[in-house]
Amino acid sequence: MKLNHIHIYGFGKFRDLQIDLSEDINIIYGRNEAGKSTLHAFLMAMFFGMDEKPARIGKEDSYSHYRNWQDPDIYGGEIGFSHGGRSYVLRRDFNLGGKHMELYAAGGEKLPEGEKILSEALSSLTESAYRSTASIGQLKAATGREMIRELKRYVDNLSSTGSPELSADAAISYLDAEKGRIEKEYDKDAVKTYASLIGQIKNLEGELASSDNDNRLRDYRDLRESVEAELSEAEKELSELRERRERAGALLSENGFADRHSIDELEDRLLREQQLYLRKKKSSESMVKRAVPVISLVVAALCAGAGFYFTGLEDIYFAGIMGAALLMLIISVTAGALLRKKRSEVRKLNEELSAEFEKHTGSGELDEDAASRLHERMEGFRRIYDTDIATSGEESAISDRMIELGRRRSDCQEDIYRQQGINRGVEEKLLKLNALRNRVLELRNIIAENNRLKDRMDAIDLAKEELSALSTELRSSVGARLNQEAGRILGKVTGGAYSRLEVTDGMEIFINTRERSIPLSSLSMGTMDQVYLALRLSAIGLIEGGGSRGSLPLFFDDSFTLYDDERLGTALRTVTDSYEGQLLIFTCQHREEKALSDMGIAHKYIELA
């Protein structure tokens, strides 16, 4: 970029000021207070615009400062410049805003991408970058401190990223922050928890596999069922037994038996009575006994007949016969009565006994067979008694068996209860196992997410590593070029006194001579100024890229005030030799003009009124 003309419409103390500039060296002379700083500020404002509000409290509010209070409506100006073989006119009306601008082509046509073209013409430098490099104030150590610090920082960025705008450190700390953010999402305990869950699952599975947890419920139930079947069988047996006894008891008592003895007794009695009856019957039926009354009656009748037949018999005989007849009659009657009595007795006996036999044997016959019938019958009762009533042994055996079965049943029941308890435990464990497995699944998701996060963190680490390696590489290459270039310039500025300069990684500056490496701080102020001048000039070259020797207008604002004539000459020669761009030297002295004229270097002299 080369400035062709300046036209201030209104800026600070200037109104309608026009200056034409040379493409090469311009010396702008003005006494103190002539407005050199204002002109310099105007050019900066034209290049970069102005902040309407100061960026920091306490910082000079140049926007207000440079407004002309007598004529506030006119605030701005224009500059003509050429860049890339084309000419432009830049106009700014600061009343329309600190950043307001319009750019016109040489033909007066307004350009839509004015800002872009301007930025390119200024090598994309920011104002601060420009001030740190191409705009050079008074070269003196005291006021240069600020500039030195800025330049240092500037060169640091420049040398680590190759651009004052890029900062490897900032990018790396941005990545660190990004990684920290990801780290927060990373569940560090997931793997540990996972392992512990797997352990718990193994343990639970082990517990479940233990034979203590076997499910034998079905076996126990089957066993209980069979015991219960046996038990009910025994119960049935017992009740049948009891029923039979009851029936037998009823049968016996129906027959008048209380016990076995009473059967024997009855049999004995009936047999006895039967014998007696038979005897009596026999006796009542004897012919003699039956004949006596008949014979007696016959004899009595014969006697009585004989008595009457033989009338005339002596009375005595008659009386005797009659008496005998009477006796015989009496005998007959008595014997007849006796016989009847006996017969009735036998009949009665027969009736009674027959009834009893009828009852017990079903036949009232009292014949000889009656006894055997009775015996058979009684044997039957005795048998019934023996089998159906005298069964306590059998019954107690069944009872014992039932007690045993009952015990077994309650054992089974207990086993079942116990097994049910175990089964409940198993079910709880299974549910827990399921819950654990679900937890494991969740954790697998978390671990998968962790892996994704880890990948991202790895990528960040890799990016950091690459950035830092590249930045180091670049730093050394930019640093080396800067050192080389600055050394070359320094050699010229110092007339060959110093020609090797090194900016270390720690941004310390050393001047290297054949003998030693001298820290910049131990050199004289003048030398320090020269070093910085050299660094600035080389830095501009680096900023603009490649081997450019400068295309930006370089401003010197009373820079050489403290230089003696010899040093001034050297410095000016250095600048003019090493910088190919346009120079604007603001000064309140004539020394610069004189030095250039003495050295035969062409320049344009402009005097501010």
Partner: protein
């Protein structure tokens, strides 16, 4: 004789752990079993064969009861169950003491067993998976070969994840049909005489394809399989969905594109969403809204920020950014995912912090 063959139902499977629809998914699996039972009723199926892994795990009594109630509702269908690796019978298993409905048959002996259904002229040879038992298809085949049944229809039922083994053991055993379980996808071997029914429902993204049941008819006169049909029953399909993104894609457009693609394919299905293409570096796809509405089990973002590497390299010939980009560009080798991601991080960090030069003002 009409039968239904299903298996690998995996009731209780937590296939979608940590997802919003985790619980719904579990219910869906049970619901599909319910629909299968209703289907059995509808087509007057006489025999239901469940070839293992009815449950994904050791079922507890309450789970068995739930299934039993369902089976109780089709008393006319004989249901023969074998267990698989997931629900294998262990010594402590609650299923050992469970009382099934009269039409449900599960053998607990640990040996191959035969269930005979004279009414159906059918014998089902079944072998469950038992813990610590090595008995399997070979033993089942042994039983089948020894047996001389009166039944004309002979069916094998087993959970056997190896089709080779199943074919080797069972193809010559004179079975009318072998109902096999243990594989995710359905598959017919030996002209349909040996069938894997596959899972009733898919269980993961890698488990695509149709899922359902086999319905078959076997002639009671000849004992031959006369008809076999696969009927999809699953309520859900796992689907990959790839969405192309370009530099002009914006949030709203992306969301509505994904929504319409999903609606097209079924909003109940579970998707693995893959974003690819080159996106505007400033655009970070936000899929929260979409993920709230649809079942997206995974989002794989393969998009690359569309940095104008050439532009950067041209604009920054001598600085770190240009250096960085050129360094990456110079590498002829295809960059790994990690390197690519690292590059994006690096460029992003440099661009985002490039304003820090301003701080020198």
């Amino acid at each position: 004789m009409r039968f239904i063959h299903l298996g690998d139902v995996r009731l209780g499977l937590n296939a979608e752990s940590g997802k919003r629809w985790e619980q719904d998914r579990r219910l869906e699996i049970f619901d599909t079993l319910r629909r299968t039972v209703r289907k059995a009723e509808e087509i007057s199926c006489e025999l239901m064969l469940i070839s293992g892994d009815l449950f994904s795990h050791q079922p507890v009594t309450s789970e068995l009861e739930e299934v039993n109630r369902l089976f109780l509702s089709i008393p006319g269908t004989e249901i023969v169950i074998v267990t698989g690796r997931g629900d294998m019978i262990k010594s402590s298993s609650p299923v050992r003491s469970f009382c099934w409905a009269p039409n449900v048959h599960l053998d607990l002996s640990g040996d191959p067993s035969c269930f005979r259904f004279p009414r159906l002229s059918t014998a089902v040879y079944a072998m469950s998976v038992f813990e610590h038992s090595k008995k399997g298809t070979k033993e089942l085949a042994g039983l089948i070969n020894e047996d001389s049944p009166e039944e004309l229809i002979r069916i094998g039922l087993i959970w056997e994840p190896s089709p080779e083994k199943a074919a080797e053991q069972l193809s010559d055993s004179g079975l009318s049909y072998a109902a096999l379980g243990g594989r995710d996808a359905h598959e017919e071997l030996e002209e349909g005489r040996l069938c894997y029914c596959g899972g009733l429902e898919p269980r993961s993204m890698s488990d695509g394809g149709p899922h359902g049941i086999y319905i078959g008819d076997i002639s009671s006169a000849s004992g031959r399989l006369i008809k076999l049909e696969f009927l999809p029953m699953a309520s859900v399909t796992y689907m990959p969905l790839a969405i192309n993104i370009n530099k002009s894609t914006k949030q709203e457009e992306l969301a509505s594109l994904i929504a319409s693609e999903i609606e097209k394919r079924g909003s109940r299905n579970i998707y693995r969403l893959r974003l690819y293409g080159r996106r505007d570096p400033g655009f970070e796809p936000d899929l929260h809204g979409i993920e709230e509405t649809y079942r997206i089990s995974e989002v794989v973002d393969e998009t690359e920020p569309q940095y104008d590497l050439e532009g950067i390299s041209e604009e920054h010939p001598y600085d770190l950014l240009g250096y960085y980009v050129n360094h990456l560009r110079r590498d002829k080798r295809e960059p790994s995912e990690l390197e690519l991601r690292a590059m994006h991080y690096g460029i992003d960090a440099l661009l985002r912090t490039s304003g820090s030069g301003e701080s020198m003002k």
